[in-house]
Symmetry: C2
Subunit: 406 residues, 2 copies
Amino acid sequence: MAACRKIKGGVCSAKGFRAAGVAAEVKYRGRNDVALIVADEPCAAAALFTTNKVAAAPVVYDRSVIRGGRIQAILANSGCANACTGEGGLADARLSALVTAGELGIDPHHVLVASTGVIGRRLPMDRLLAGMKLAKGALGRTAAHGLEATKAIMTTDTRPKQACVTTVVGGRKVTVGGMSKGSGMIEPNMATMLGFVTTDAAVSPRMLKRALQLAVGKSFNRLVVDGDESTNDSVFLLASGKAGNREVDKPGKDFDAFLEALEAVCVSLAKQMATDGEGATKFVTVTVKGAKSERDAERAARAVAKSPLAKTSWFGKDPNWGRVLAAVGYSGAEVSDMQAEVFYDREWAFRRGRIADERQLAKLAKVMKKDAFTVTVDLHLGKFESSIYTCDFSLDYVHINADYTT
Amino acid sequence: MAACRKIKGGVCSAKGFRAAGVAAEVKYRGRNDVALIVADEPCAAAALFTTNKVAAAPVVYDRSVIRGGRIQAILANSGCANACTGEGGLADARLSALVTAGELGIDPHHVLVASTGVIGRRLPMDRLLAGMKLAKGALGRTAAHGLEATKAIMTTDTRPKQACVTTVVGGRKVTVGGMSKGSGMIEPNMATMLGFVTTDAAVSPRMLKRALQLAVGKSFNRLVVDGDESTNDSVFLLASGKAGNREVDKPGKDFDAFLEALEAVCVSLAKQMATDGEGATKFVTVTVKGAKSERDAERAARAVAKSPLAKTSWFGKDPNWGRVLAAVGYSGAEVSDMQAEVFYDREWAFRRGRIADERQLAKLAKVMKKDAFTVTVDLHLGKFESSIYTCDFSLDYVHINADYTT
């Protein structure tokens, strides 16, 4: 089986895509805030959206557009989320897609839009559309173009997030590349999770949707920063088919190869997002194993990753297994403190009623100083396992989220 | 109907109870850490405990003891939670109840024990029992005795929490008084919620349990500090019957009068706990009304109260209704941002798609400066309402919970 290989790159790495990012003063001066991604031809496409019942206008608009299964362009902006903006906001989303299609000379039903930024403000349509035209003129196929587009959707992100992987599907080399943003889970001013992935593999819209669901389930859906969920979260996947493989239209070896590459890209983006979590000083993987059921493993890991007490203990470099175990205890998962074990990386902190002695604490202290570690809870009750990517809860998280004024 | 009247007092205010708090060096020197509450005779009693599956030894022990429905003494300590301590910890809990009963000359099945403090450490039995004997010698019926007992269960609490109410049940004046501790919801080092309430009303164990469930449902269960739940949370209610009323043994007017008083005490204690939440600078009541169902109102209010983004916005004095509405959106409750309204006290911030203008923002700024306010979300979808007591999320919360080292 062909190796899935990580390379440098992003949304322009797969054949058939151009991108641009420009400064249009949607909210701030002198920073990229409008991104445009354009495929040479209509692509098979899939999308997943926030489950938040307060869904932003672009999400509502895109949900209807994506039903067609073909997309050729994505217009995205930061600075304004176009959420809680009523019928007017929906009209803005629709109009920006229409004008973009007109400008590019493509089908208006082939344009997705995405916004991130302040909730409750209308889009500054004149500046957004001027930005879109500017971006059209700046479109290109280089890594630099992908990077400019990535920068245009950043908010509290301190680093642009890109990932790229090549693999072989049906005997042809294919590329999957993507970009994402997001560092708190929701944020009227800033965060939201947006992810755009492109590939030159030929995959049917149906299998593309399936691959995206599976990949998101192992990546973005395993990501917890603060447990809040945005009104704007969106992930798009476009497949140009330019790699020349026979279209993947059913499960099997080719689908698995494609899925592996897609997962690698999405997991990399998700990990970059956790690492860049608002105020984060540590990237933490929470793994619960030995659970009685898949659901137990999942909810236990999620409870630990969301627990403010566990998160602040990581910030404080404290191997506080008690907070970890207590979070598992209220997660709803089956757990017995007579049987459970808690590890930080490979060092145990609590073992079936036994707690770390001085020597063990010294080893744990070393783990806690690392920028990244894994907290593992082994419940010893079954064979199910689940992992969540998260970060610590720092003073800066509070600063970032308290200091902004509407 | 007789007025329910708040007075100064606590666990010694009702007739038939003595209390003491002493310093026994369970963990620290020079602070009260062992509390003893003793009734003159066995009392009708009820108790409610944490639902955390990792339940501390005293909780496991008390669950069996309370089945008898009669209690005469409570031994409580801070400094050590006696949680995750295995069979040995359970034996310690049992032994401390037995020795207390022997010392007091009462039935060993009439003693409840409660612990709060570090998880995973065994109780220092010699010091605990020496403290218990010291406390026995210090027992008394004055408000000062109740206060000393209250101080003995404090951990990160910055203030002792007591409440007392008098009312009339069956023509007799009855008193309900209580004490509690807790400022983060769980804490291996510190927090946990403990609440001890005494009354001189005569109430059957069955109706006492019912009253306690109802009162806790409107008070301690409506309290969110960080959303974490302790392994040790316990609430006890003892009724001495010394008020001389005919025993309340069924629903009706007398039960309602007693319940009203009990609720008032529990709500006061819960509010004191939210106000004293770890690092809290603001007491916030989150009210969701106009919900389609009771469950919707409840989960929407709870989601807002738990949202780190909403909580940090309160700390930042920011009327950030977007974060509030987004939390409602992911709570699972039905919500439409076209119909919802968000208020801070009586000032609106978001009204069915309309957002506050400069003049309204000035009014909101005044509310946000207050030490206590209510965030109200009116969903306009039904007639159900629910409130949660909580606090903001401050820099000090992170300090308090990060700076402790196991």
